[in-house]
Symmetry: C2
Subunit: 303 residues, 2 copies
């Protein structure tokens, strides 16, 4: 199987490099890092063992890339409108596009852009960052869940999962909508609240007022998911997310890093869209509506 990676950053860079390291054919689209990677290769500093790819199939444009069996999309979701130009050169009849992005409604929107392409959700559970050109810093975790959205070839999903596992990445197939909402249980409180209160996960959970607020917000996601037909998600799951985070290294979620570095925040797919979907299903996420408004205010004030 030939892989393509669009958005070779903290996420796409890590997973693509892991596959390439075990000999898979992987073609990477780079933006600012192209010239550096052509000359120096790609470095992955990883808690699971660092490694370096001397020879990388690096491109500045997807027009120059070959068609692929599987495309991993690691773009920030704020750039998904670019897919209408970026994706077509990589597509053949049965290409599977795995959207390794956060949020709700992503597959639905990309499917509208490409009605016949096969899509899957990629849920990355990983702390990583691209700290400098050609260098991915993988701090901890790293597993990925794959949720089939519109792929008619089950064996292709199986093969992707298998390729990840052979590359040392813990991968599992999951139900796509349940997986997206489960990830939102963690994402929606922690991404936004660390921005709104300019803090980190551990400090939020040490204060009893914000601990309760995080729990309340998680329960809004649980209840929204239930309203949207996802039944296998409950209060115990929220409690487990809090407990996991208490025992996690103090962490700045991706939205906090985006805000601090004056990059656009993924407010639409992380907040606006799930809030809208829940509302359509008859449920109001009131505290998360407030958080969304605060984020949109802060982003405007911060530019």
């Amino acid at each position: 199987m030939r892989y393509g990676v669009i958005g070779t950053g903290a996420i796409g860079g890590y997973y693509g490099a892991k596959l390439a390291q075990t000999g898979k054919e992987v073609h990477f689209l780079f933006h600012r890092d192209y010239a550096y990677v052509e000359e120096h290769g790609l470095q992955v500093d990883s808690c699971d063992g660092s490694f370096h790819l001397d020879k990388v199939n690096a491109y500045q444009s997807t027009a120059a890339m070959p068609v692929c069996d599987v495309v991993l999309v690691g773009l920030k979701s704020v750039n998904n409108h670019l897919l209408s130009e970026l994706l077509p050169p990589l597509l053949k009849e049965d290409t599977l596009v795995v959207l390794i992005q956060n949020g709700i409604g992503i597959e639905e929107d990309v499917q509208k852009m490409f009605p016949t392409v096969q899509l899957a959700a990629g849920l990355a559970f990983i702390c990583s960052a691209k700290t400098e050109p050609g260098r991915v810093n993988h701090q901890c975790y790293g597993y990925i869940n794959i949720g089939n959205y519109s792929c008619k070839q089950q064996e292709k999903i199986d093969e992707v999962v298998d390729d990840f596992r052979k590359a040392g990445v813990d991968a599992n197939e999951v139900e796509y909508l349940e997986a997206r909402w489960k990830k939102a249980v963690w994402n929606m409180p922690f991404n936004g609240m660390t921005v709104a209160l300019n803090t980190q996960t551990d400090i939020l959970l040490q204060n009893p007022n914000t601990l309760q607020l995080v729990k309340d917000q998680m329960m809004e996601v649980v209840e929204a998911a239930q309203a949207c037909g996802v039944t296998n998600i409950d209060e115990a799951f929220a409690d487990k997310m809090i407990d996991n985070t208490v025992h996690m290294t103090p962490y700045s979620p991706s939205m906090k890093l985006d805000f601090d570095f004056h990059r656009p925040m993924e407010t639409y797919y992380l907040y606006t869209r799930p809030i809208e979907e829940a509302k359509k299903a008859g449920y109001r996420m009131k505290k998360l509506e407030m958080l969304e408004a605060e984020l949109r205010f802060l982003e405007e004030a911060h530019v």
Copy 2:
């Protein structure tokens, strides 16, 4: 009538000085400003005409003050526990204590401390600040609403209203609980949100996201008031508050000043207590619960 003022700051200082200026006998308790005022008197810089009181009945302790017919309390509500020591020397059998403070539940708590004292709520609609020792800066507005809580002498309430009017202060008698909740419609969104987002009233209302959020929070107060039995308050009142604020000079509410100057915030009577009262009446103020949690987090982080 002999007046006493406890808490001679932006509020107590202004209203007490206005009464004294027209010849009323007013006795002022000072804290840090005592020596300065003894020597220099009290200055009021006012949009309605500035004036200076050369001779002020100033005290460092209520033990030295005479008993009074009316006591105006202009303390920050975070200091109300001090009333158990401050008030008794000023009380005679029919003293009326006017609590010129923001929030819900204040009369109820003070009445528990002094079961037989006559109480009224004072709702001050004024932009003023104590900017330096012995100097009150009155920027705009200035009217005061008086709501009888437990005063059995209607003529006394009438006389206070009359004294204020003769002193050039627009005063009116109102229904106490309705007046407190109506003031909360403005106070709860603007005090907390200017702290949470480090901004001013005008900027909050210019952003469509926070404009909607302010409106949502106002409607939570309206619905909480209705749940607590206050019927004469509705969406039109909230819209009027927003419209008034749009046309107001950009303003930092008292809680924002308290936060910026590292003084304790009136979170309990402005948020915790109304949220509790509404909850007891079966209504959850969800966005204002979130704001309360954010304020408690920020106050702890800010010390």
